[in-house]
């Protein structure tokens, strides 16, 4: 007996001009034009190769099968209930001033303290803000901070971003509680493109935690994030990224901070999850008295690969930047830190520091550290330093001589080593959350 079945071929969506058009359907004309132009740049830009200094240790051609990835947004809608892991991570957070939840590249909920909203604070889905014609979005999205012209992936993101966060804090409004973005990626083999645009007007204050989680994936799954942070004169901004994806996750972030006169723009990048994590962070100090503390913490095991590419651009005189990235690497993990301090002509009185320290916990883990200086002004104070070391046998013996088992001793030394970074940006709940995540990882090591 035969049965006639309608076989519906599922058309696999792929990264291409058609996806750009589909993603931009419903966008205002300026945005569609911007996407189009970004796609042109993407097509005209070669994939970064390991022959270039900046990508020497991360072979995207080999690690990232762009042709096989399916843009996540526009795929099947996520289940109504948030996944358990994400809910647990959210429950861990202390009180927040607001929260955005993003699943597979789409904002699914936005909450903001009503008193803040009444004072003009805007926390919104970036897509909706763009469509609603918010002037700052049109002016600042992919223009000054992370424009498409920045490189292959900046272009790809500018063409294909599906959603993200717009946070605007008006002049003089100081938010003492943290605003959070909780992100989840659910489908293997997809590519999620997200943007975060934050504008802190003069003398305002905010802290923002961007946390991403996912399950383990059987296939490479890309998350590409462009982060654009503006702190106007005298503002104080803290941005924290907690990357806790599962296996198979490929996290690729372009972050740029623009700090104007007497403002503070601090960042903390925590990389614990995913198979590959690449973060390009460019801090620009645009006015005298501007200050950026740049913190990083990574803990890799198995075959995890973390690559940080940072730059501290001192454009204005009398600004200060201080970078500290610390990583522990176990198993066959790989950590790469490449950082440069650029003191531009005329940036007298610059204070810029850069330190990268690595702790190697196995015979097969590798850390590469490449600090660099480029100084075109005199009267500057700059220093850079890098270390790659192993667990100190004397320290382990000291701890064990008090009764700690070897694993306990190692755990304390690693937590102590990495904890220095967290102690410098003690945001509500972040220290505890990251410490717990590291402890959980140490248990499996």
């Amino acid at each position: 007996m035969s049965q006639a079945t309608a076989v519906r071929e599922e058309v696999r969506r792929e990264i291409g001009r058609r996806a750009v058009m589909e993603t931009g359907a419903g966008d205002p004309a300026w945005l569609r034009a911007r996407r189009d132009e970004a796609w042109n740049i993407y097509e005209a830009t070669p994939l970064p190769s390991t022959r270039s200094e900046e990508w020497r240790y991360t072979d995207v051609a080999r690690l990232l099968p762009l042709d096989e990835l399916e843009p996540a947004a526009g795929g099947p809608a996520h289940a109504a209930a948030l996944p358990e892991e994400l809910r647990l991570a959210m429950a861990q957070d202390r009180e927040s001033a607001g929260r955005i939840v993003d699943v597979d590249g789409r904002v699914v909920s936005v909450e903001l303290d009503e008193a803040l909203a009444a004072r003009g604070v805007v926390l919104a889905s970036l897509r909706e803000a763009a469509r609603a014609g918010v002037p700052q979005v049109e002016a600042l999205l992919a223009t000054e901070a992370v424009p498409a012209a920045d490189g292959k992936f900046a272009a790809l993101n500018a063409a294909l971003w599906s959603d993200g966060v717009f946070l605007y804090v008006p002049r003089g409004v100081r938010i003492d509680r943290t605003i959070r973005l909780s992100r989840w990626v659910s489908r293997p083999g997809t590519a999620t493109f997200t943007r975060i645009l934050i504008v802190a007007e003069e003398h305002s204050q905010l802290s923002f935690v961007d946390e991403i989680l996912s399950p383990d994936f059987p296939a490479v799954t890309l998350v590409n994030t462009a982060v654009e942070l503006f702190s106007r004169g005298g503002a104080q901004v803290q941005y924290v990224s907690l990357q806790r994806m599962g296996e198979g996750g490929f996290y690729l972030a372009n972050q740029r901070t623009l700090a104007e006169r007497d403002s503070t723009l601090d960042t903390l990048n925590v990389a614990l999850g995913g198979s590959v994590g690449r973060v390009d962070l460019n801090a620009r100090l645009l006015g005298p008295g501007a200050n950026s503390d740049m913190l990083g913490l990574y803990f890799g095991d198995a075959n995890q690969h973390f690559d940080f590419n940072t730059s501290q651009d001192h454009v204005a005189p009398h600004a200060h930047s201080d970078l500290l990235y610390k990583g522990a690497l176990d198993g066959a993990a790989r950590g790469i830190f490449r950082g440069i301090i650029r003191v531009h002509e005329g940036a007298q009185g610059t204070d810029a520091y850069q330190t990268n320290r690595n702790l190697i916990l196995s015979d097969t883990a590798i850390a590469t550290s490449l600090p660099n200086l480029e100084i075109e002004a005199d009267d500057v104070r700059c220093s850079h330093g890098a270390t790659v070391g192993q667990l100190d046998a004397e320290a382990l013996f000291y701890l064990m001589s008090r009764g700690l088992r070897r694993e306990q001793a190692e755990r304390l030394v690693v937590l102590g080593f990495l904890g220095e970074v967290l102690s410098k940006l003690p945001l509500g709940g972040v220290v505890e959350k990251v410490t717990q995540a590291i402890e959980a990882k140490l248990r499996y090591v």
């Binding site: 320290a395 701890l399 064990m400 001589s401 008090r402 009764g403 070897r406 001793a409 102590g416 080593f417």
Partner: protein, 257 residues
């Protein structure tokens, strides 16, 4: 009271592991519960090596002889097992552990002494730690400071005795704890040690020192002189006074390497 030694070292020879270097060349030593023994001897004679071999430092290897602790073969035990069994060494050069607070360290050390699944009572722990810091005249803020990180020489030594007071060992090896302490601090530390001995009269002490002065405060039952990896003389506290007056010259002549 059982009077068999808590620590019995017999013909112990030891050197640096993987290197052809003998440091201890046949040490004999027996310490009974509640006894205080002092070891004096010139620089480089092997005092710290003996202490570290007793504590289980992986850099050293016993090549001959034995060391028993409460009848168990000490040399077969890992450093943490020795600590759990009641051995404590106050380091001559305490190690800095950046980012790990004293409180966290001691909490983990006490937790490690409990059975699997048993949880340390944090309130009791806090109380013990505070009481011990008071005993040693330490500011409470010390508990949150990273272990030895940025401590002055004297603070490091005092921190060793704090750990000892928290962990309550049955055998305390104190390697030059008095060096680097000012006169007041020396008295405080000695008072701490004596308090522990009052709490537990069976606690034994092996005290390594260059100076007779500490022995006025912590009065030894036996004093040993170590030269060139061996104990060459043992006697009462009067030996320390003689050494203070005459130095090691006489021993040097008699026991040239």
């Amino acid at each position: 009271m059982d009077d068999s030694p808590i620590l019995t070292v017999t013909g112990l020879e030891a050197g640096v592991a993987d290197e052809d270097l003998d440091i201890l060349k046949g040490v004999d030593l027996a310490i009974r519960p509640g006894e205080i023994h002092a070891i004096m001897g010139p620089n480089g004679s092997g005092k710290s090596t003996l202490a570290k071999v007793i504590a289980g430092h992986p850099e050293y290897e016993a090549t001959d002889g034995s060391a028993e602790f409460n009848g168990e073969d000490l040399l077969e035990m890992e450093p943490d097992e020795r600590a759990q069994a009641g051995v404590f060494m106050a380091f001559q050069y305490p190690v800095e552990i950046p980012g790990v607070s004293i409180a966290n360290f001691m909490r983990t050390a006490l937790q490690s002494r409990l059975e699997d699944g048993e949880e340390l009572d944090l309130f009791d722990f806090q109380e013990l730690l505070m009481e011990r810091m008071e005993l040693l005249d330490m500011d409470v803020s010390f508990a949150q400071r990273p272990v030895n990180d940025g401590f002055s020489g004297g603070e490091k030594k005092r921190n060793e005795i704090l750990q000892m007071a928290v962990l309550k060992p049955s055998l305390a090896v104190m390697d030059e704890t008095d060096s680097g302490l000012d006169i007041d601090a020396l008295k405080i530390v000695a008072h701490g040690v004596n308090t522990l001995r009052q709490e537990n009269p069976e606690m034994s002490v092996l005290l390594i020192t260059h100076y007779q002065r500490i022995l006025n405060h912590i009065v030894p039952d036996r004093v040993h002189v170590m030269m060139n990896g061996k104990i060459v003389e043992s006697g009462g506290p009067e030996i320390a006074l003689e050494l203070e007056a005459q130095g090691y010259e006489e021993y040097r002549k008699a026991h040239a390497a």
